[in-house]
Symmetry: C2
Subunit: 302 residues, 2 copies
């Protein structure tokens, strides 16, 4: 198996993980978790999103979280998700310099998620780039593999958005398997096509474990040369379309697999699992990552 020497993991738990948690997580607890992730060696964290707090109440403290994190960890890649121009403006005012702009590869999902057509989202993105030169903008392509409303996503839908990124000189793009429906063959096919068609782009992969294939998809992606992955501490997040299901790929399970395969992550798994433990105790959501239970195993080495 041909694997990269190292991978870079961005923990999106504080945004994608937390946003589906019904009970509000106190700001100080959110910050405690972010602290734990930094202590474990994670260098990139999606710390919040700037969205309408009526839509996503969990993110109502976005500005406060942003201010605290920037003060405490000026060297951290502190990313905030933004769905539109207003979100980007608010992020910038809060001192954020790295934003992830989300647009879906599926028309139906874009409408449901950000209440506008893909064309409108693209127009907003162009305005964002023009109006905010102070921001490093990455693009998150949601439903890059499959959509709850439209089924399997045609690769052309993804290529279309990658062309937009190219025109706007945005090189950092995340392909998101929003509902955890991608399979390894599909992932391998799309990533190879993207590598061929858009070699200048730095592609990250954001996977969900709804159908159990997150690590399978991650392994084939690494074989395809992908070295950037977005995962969530504890595997928080769930799936709004499949209640009770798992959500994001768990950071701790991802770190374990890569380290076992000799791929460096730069992350201290023991410290990370302490943070997972803290999440379990303090967040009203299921930890679906496997490593916490395995840590308590009686195996000679876990």
């Amino acid at each position: 198996m041909k694997l990269p020497k190292k991978v870079r993991i961005r923990d999106v738990g504080p945004r994608d993980g937390f946003q589906n948690v019904r009970t509000f997580i106190d700001t100080d607890k959110k910050l405690e978790i972010i602290d734990g992730l930094v202590t474990a060696g994670i260098q990139a964290i999606e710390i919040t999103s700037f969205v309408n707090p009526k839509a996503i109440p969990q993110m109502a403290d976005a500005a406060k979280v942003a201010a605290e994190v920037r003060k405490k960890y000026p060297d951290l890649e502190a990313l905030a998700l933004v769905p539109n121009l207003r979100g980007a403006e608010n992020a910038s005012k809060a001192g954020i310099r790295n934003v992830a702009y989300v647009v879906s590869a599926s028309e139906a999902h874009n409408k449901a998620n950000v209440n506008r057509s893909i064309d409108e989202s693209v127009e907003n993105l162009k305005e964002l780039v023009l109006q905010h030169p102070e921001l490093n903008v990455r693009v998150d392509i949601a439903t890059a593999f499959g959509c709850p409303y439209s089924g399997t996503t045609p690769p052309e839908n993804v290529f279309r958005l990658l062309k937009v990124c190219r025109e706007l000189r945005i090189q950092e793009v995340t392909l998101c398997d929003t509902i955890g429906i991608a399979n390894p063959k599909q992932v391998s096919g799309l990533l190879n096509a993207v590598k061929d068609g858009f070699p200048e782009l730095n592609i990250a992969l954001h996977l969900h474990n709804t159908r159990g294939m997150a690590l399978a998809n991650m392994a084939v992606a690494a074989e395809c040369g992908i070295t950037n992955f977005e995962t969530s501490v504890g595997g928080l997040g769930g799936c709004p379309f499949a209640p009770g299901s798992e959500g994001n790929a768990a950071t701790e399970d991802t770190v374990y697999m890569f380290e076992q395969m000799g791929v460096e992550t730069g992350i201290d798994l023991e410290k990370l699992i302490e943070t997972v433990s803290y999440v379990q105790a303090n967040v009203d959501a299921l930890v679906t990552g496997k490593m916490l239970k395995v840590k308590n195993s009686t195996c000679i080495n876990f």
Copy 2:
């Protein structure tokens, strides 16, 4: 991704899944579940094990299950696990014609599991083959990748047992990741070495999802040319070394992944999920397979 056209799945739920369930599953319920698996198109099932009922009370009705299944499904590959010669004798008396003889690649695990050294297990296997020409004997190599007591299993330990199989003209061998600790790179490495060193053997893979890598391991194994997999309905089984953890790779999740990748399984997923549902309602154990929750999802197609 280079994948086989089809794979063959053996469901070991009625043995490996059930044996860790504390509450006795009534014989008629065990048979109902086996019925459900056959109806879903599964052609090979590990229906029970012939072991000391004091050690594994769940399997106390082995002879009855065997008699009923053979009567109802004479064409089913109905397999029974046996840990020693006595088990094989009892299986044969009960009309079973396919046995899986378990021996561990790790000395410590063999001692803990079947209370004898590997050498003794090998001697018993030789006697079994001589004394029971009426039995089709396959060998299950437990802890083929890692052992709870000894850590990572040196490949030589596996090769040693494969040489024994070769000498005894046993061609059907299952490599078992008993504690779900294998990673894709390790699986790929071992399977390629086995393919090169023992091309005449028909290797099956038995995976556990304790650390979330079952489907990842299965996908690389399929790429290595493995077409036989052992999985458990509902992902039953757990892990005695990591309480609360997942156990066997779930049959339904396995079928879903392969079918999505265009690999034929011959199994009707909808019917299989009905059986998973029955298991959830009637067996005092956690269904850890993902597809049952996903079946209830609001995605346009799951």
